[in-house]
Symmetry: D2
């Protein structure tokens, strides 16, 4: 592929994460020669866009690179002819997230941004916006890759795969985080570690680990039992039981704590709520602090405080993928893509999270080494069925599908609670759910 | 098929249900010419066997039929050359059932004989006994059909299909009960009603109903919403929500209340337990009363009180199946059989409950009319995965598989509780669980 | 189902087969109460329609039944409100059939009406006409069942299933003929024989035979080896080799001779052609004689000579199917229907020929007892792939798909011959192939 | 992976190809540090082994590398502790090959070493020998990779996958040859070309080609139509028709000429045979000349004449695979491996030829981009079914499966010819077919 000059559009460019992404673009400029970087946001985000955009320009100027940064509220201008489109938007901002956490909690359920009833609500709000972006991409940059980071990334990516009509790959920093944590457990460089990950976004299992090509999966399970640090910033660090891990035969991801350690997680949640805090509140405070830092005209690098924000490796993931596509690299990354039989116990048109070869044409699944046993399969299938129903509910504004989605979700677990929570969600978020009118 | 004289062996022949079965044999003698009827039981059941066996003999004498009734503790004698073997045994008797109800309840979970952690415990106790019976059948009557009624009938039948090496069909009175209740709702003869049932034992969905060949599924869902009586004797009669039923697009079975209406069911259970009663206690009392009646040497018919016992239509189901096999009838019945792709979202070697053509060679699935949507699929798959794990745990005495089974069961729902409940089960039922030694 | 009065439309009503069908309607009137029988034909067939229609009226009058027979060239009038539509049309009449036999023969290939390049040509001519009929049915009698007898019946039915948008079942007299021949070999009443047939139209295998419910498949294979009479009127009666049959493990159908005994069949064909006769010529003469008979105003029954025509049991098959649908009978018949996984080695949307339960809603596959081994699978799959390509070619007028279809057909066998034969077909039948313009 | 010193065993080390392989080992020594190279042969090959082994030693000495070359007739010594085992044996030597070419030709069929009845005969002779080698490997070097080049490589590899119990990958120089020819057509370096190959050995299709990451498949089909050189040394260079290629949508492999251009190939074969030559005769002469050259004690490089032999790139393929495994390289190569659903229209346990990621654990399929259409699927499935039957026939000495295998092979095409050819094969090769005794 001739090294042409690239145009990248970042939807939700006013996000506090943007400096992370810009730092990645700078570091990888030699292999990802971006010429035009569009940061686009909505009217409500114009203030933040101005602040973070100015920082981005200072960072690039300091690096001495010929990347033109454009700040705009005109999404169509940003998308026209783009090579890559990245989304990091949040419909309803952090106030909506606080509701996603509080509404389920009021019924004794897990309230979380991406999982359970909270993630469900976020999906309902986000999918119509993303599909609207897809309409523009189809018209203005039909060859662009849409890299979707917007949570719940698996559900949103499935909606795009089924209804968006654009080339898309869903991304998450969890797989790379897992790989880094495993490298830490084995005290080796991350490049020496290979992980085989299967499942769906925020519900994946690491079914095999190799260090220098040698299978060390059993050793990993022994090391991981009870070990701390095997989680994301935003998830309490409850340890795994050794017998449980070995009979599971795989390392669950951080979010599995909501499913496997529900009581502990609920207890933790309720303590937090008693103190009056949701994760949304924490993030709000962190973001306010970050934007104060960003305003400093002397600042021309990513401030270290950003790493506390929870999105570690986010830039790494996005830039690695763009780089491998642009350079037709044929390396293996863990991404969210159409299944097509790669995980035989899930529908062909499901979005799955797994290892794939990345080249100029996108991502293609690599066949996992081992069949998925029933201990993984059962939970995987029921959550995927929930996701399918959620996509249908979000796209068509279908109350019945929404009710069925929540009913079968393991973190809701009954039709009665599902209905109560659903009615609250539709009422509280009504402004962002026009499809249910 | 020449109308040869048949030999039938009833394992657990001392059960209070036996008069029901004998009544069926009498009524259908003209098409199911049984010559030898063996009622076999274990030493501990010899007293009940004598009582119920004497009643059986009086019933047959009164009907004037040439059926020879044999009462024996020698299972091999009963099995030798049998055409049909029926199981209605209960490992650990009603005391074990009481534990199955109480252990889960102590952790705030549903305690039930066939579903959830209670059904799991029963499966662990029952499967080794059934597989031992299969060893005898393979040797003594390899052409016999094993008709398995023993609960959890789906799991036990799956164990036989995978490890028993005999011809088997699993049976339950729930499908015929559903059909009768639907006939009642439409106020028509049951023979005019066809039901399409898909799923697994005690977790099936009626996805289509026809009266006189005309599809009345939507009308059924409307009638069923809120209607009483749509359940078995032993399950509280909470009504279904109309919106829920219509978006589900199918009629759930009675046991679905444990999954869809968990809170109400738990509340009901806890009230019962507060009053000091489990279902096992109720059954114990009923059985004691029945055996008092059975002792009456004047009694030579099935006493009407037996119908209160909960096994309505049990005889109907068993005798219909034997009759259709014996007469190569090619009619359609709802049975538990190997899937082989009939329900594509479940493994080929899973035991499924669905409509099948019954002929001299056994049962073959009839392809359901409609694909199974995600609202049914998700729950079905996770419970089936639990069943697969339970079969492995029961056959191999595998603690890890047992732990994983309970962890993913929707009525347990976390690894922590699973471990606590499992450890209690293994301790309390230790005498019946030699495979875990 | 209330016994309402039925309307039946027979497209191609002027066919010489019609008296056969009418005789069936008369014999089964008590269970298939037809009120209106429309015989419809095209202008070119109006003479024959008048003759055969008059005979039909005399037959019904003699039987004293209140069936109104209508003769018409107005297809829409015939279809309006019909309960059953039956097709027995021949696009291009027997002259086109003669070409179907001669064109392939000119290249040293089998020339046959339903198989190979001849059947391919007939499919190209027929599918557009049938889909045009479907358009009328969708508008005028959307609840009607289209019973398709038109050859190649499997390919035409697949086209209707994929593109027709009407309820359809494909029919052939071959399966019932097979069952009758097997009954003959065992010297028992046909009602005592069950056959399990799997495959596709004119390429099915009888994989299991039971007499009175007892499996006699191996005995059948022994009896069938070398036996005469195991074929249709129009296929030479070359016997099967015993070793071949036993290693195949199933009884091939008559048309398999074209595939398994190609040299003998080609030799036979070439001898016939040397004498100047094609099967089309024979049929032409037979038909002429039949119509002479039909003209006789004294004739009011089906003349016995019709049975020489080759369509034995045709009426039996059609009337049995209508009767089972009308009476919601739930019996098992061998029909051509959508696969949906019933034969797992073929695509879900393929038309397959297999046993199905027939009720008021149509036909649903019964799961075959045994998996299909590679000796059957390979030939079945390649011919089905040919059929898929033929449907696409016929519907879209796609030259490339037509070329690929013939190339992979085992009776053509190379791209070079495929192209030559295809070009001849397109040229010779141009008047009937508007889709290739 | 620590760069340990490797042991490689070459079964059939006396082959004329060995210098090719040795040259590859020399060229890649820096990344494939072989310490022990065992060339093993049978008694009958000891003369050739001495000659070619001496040359191998001179080549390594000249290169100044510390590779110890061992010449031995003791296979077990060669296998003990090996890291890689490569097979290049020919059961029955070239005389048997001559029969493989002449027997089918006598019936008017294609006679070819790897395809059709000739390849079938070779499979029957080879599989028992290879499975015997597998027994030794399981005992003496259970962690070794068996790299199988022995033709028919796909069938032999399938036999090993099903019955061998060792880690194996089947190899062929055809895929790399295809890639090189395509690079030639586009006049670019081969490293800039990616090919997506799907199918089975000697019957694969190149379904997509990219140059520098850009899809150029349509351009390839246009260039390939009529072009020369798109074949192996041993296959006549008949060109492809443009309409045919474009409707196929993929580039067939060289061996497809036997299927798609059967008449031309037969004609060519018959001309050759009239002149009294088979390919075996040509190879015999070439080999004799090569061994004359090899004897020259001055020769210490691979003589250029070897490239005329037909096995171009053979060394490249073998050494690339060993290198990627040894270095855990995770690059993509086209290999023969277990399907596991990667090509959904073939059985899971079939051996398929396709792109795979190669790492220390072996090869895992990369999901092809496009579904396989019926024009490819049909031929692929029937030939794979033939291969399955051939494996069963070869392993179990099953006459019936052998008969069915040949019957469905498109290059045999009828049961009559199949039986004649089979009986000739069993008689002529009797000494090498003990399993049919």
């Amino acid at each position: 592929m001739t090294k042409k000059e690239l145009k990248v559009a970042v939807i939700g460019g006013g996000s506090s994460y943007t400096p992370e992404l810009v730092e990645g673009f700078i570091r990888h400029y030699h292999e990802l020669p971006i010429k035009e970087l569009y940061l686009v946001d909505i009217e409500a985000g114009s203030g933040k866009l101005a602040i973070v955009g100015a920082l981005a320009k200072r960072m690039i100027a300091k690096a001495g690179l010929p990347i033109d940064v454009h700040l705009t509220l005109d999404r169509r201008e940003a998308l026209r002819g783009a090579d890559f489109v990245s989304t990091q938007l949040r419909v309803g901002l952090l106030d909506a997230r606080a509701l996603d956490e509080r509404i389920p909690a009021a019924y004794g359920l897990i309230g979380q941004e991406t999982t359970g009833a909270g993630g469900f609500a976020k999906a309902l709000r986000t999918i119509p916006v993303i599909l609207d972006i897809c309409r523009d991409i189809r018209e203005l940059s039909p060859d662009a890759f849409l890299l979707n980071f917007t949570n719940p990334a698996g559900i949103v990516t499935e909606a795009v795969l089924k209804y968006g009509g654009v080339k898309t790959i869903g991304l998450c920093n969890l797989p790379i985080g897992t790989r880094m944590q495993i490298a830490g457990l084995f005290e080796v460089e991350v490049s020496r570690v290979d992980v085989e990950i299967v499942g769906i976004n925020h519900l994946n299992w690491t079914t095999r680990v190799a260090v220098d090509g040698t299978d060390v999966t059993q050793a990993l399970l022994s090391k991981a039992a009870g070990a701390g640090g095997l989680t994301m910033k935003n998830i309490p660090d409850f340890g795994w039981d050794s017998e449980f891990l070995h009979s599971l035969g795989a390392l669950p991801c951080s979010y599995h704590r909501y499913y496997y350690l529900t009581e502990q997680m609920l207890e933790h949640q309720n303590e937090q709520l008693k103190e009056g805090t949701t994760r949304a509140d924490v993030v709000k405070r962190v973001e306010a602090e970050l934007f104060e830092l960003y305003k400093d005209p002397q600042l021309s690098v990513k401030p270290p405080q950003l790493e506390q924000r929870g999105g570690a490796y986010y830039s790494e993931v996005a830039v690695s993928l763009m780089t491998s596509i642009h350079n037709d690299r044929k390396d293996i990354q863990t991404v969210n893509i159409r299944n097509n039989g790669a995980i035989p116990c899930l529908p062909d048109d499901a979005c799955v999270e797994m290892n794939a070869v990345i080249d100029a044409s996108g991502a293609r699944p690599v066949q996992p080494r081992t069949p998925i046993g029933p201990q993984i399969r059962g939970l995987l299938q029921v959550v995927k069925a929930y996701e399918e129903l959620t996509v249908e509910a979000a796209v068509h504004g279908d109350y019945g599908m929404a009710l069925q989605a929540l009913t079968i979700h393991p973190l809701v677990g009954s039709a009665d609670k599902a209905k109560q929570v659903l009615d609250d969600i539709l009422k509280e978020h009504a402004g962002y759910l026009p499809q249910f009118k």
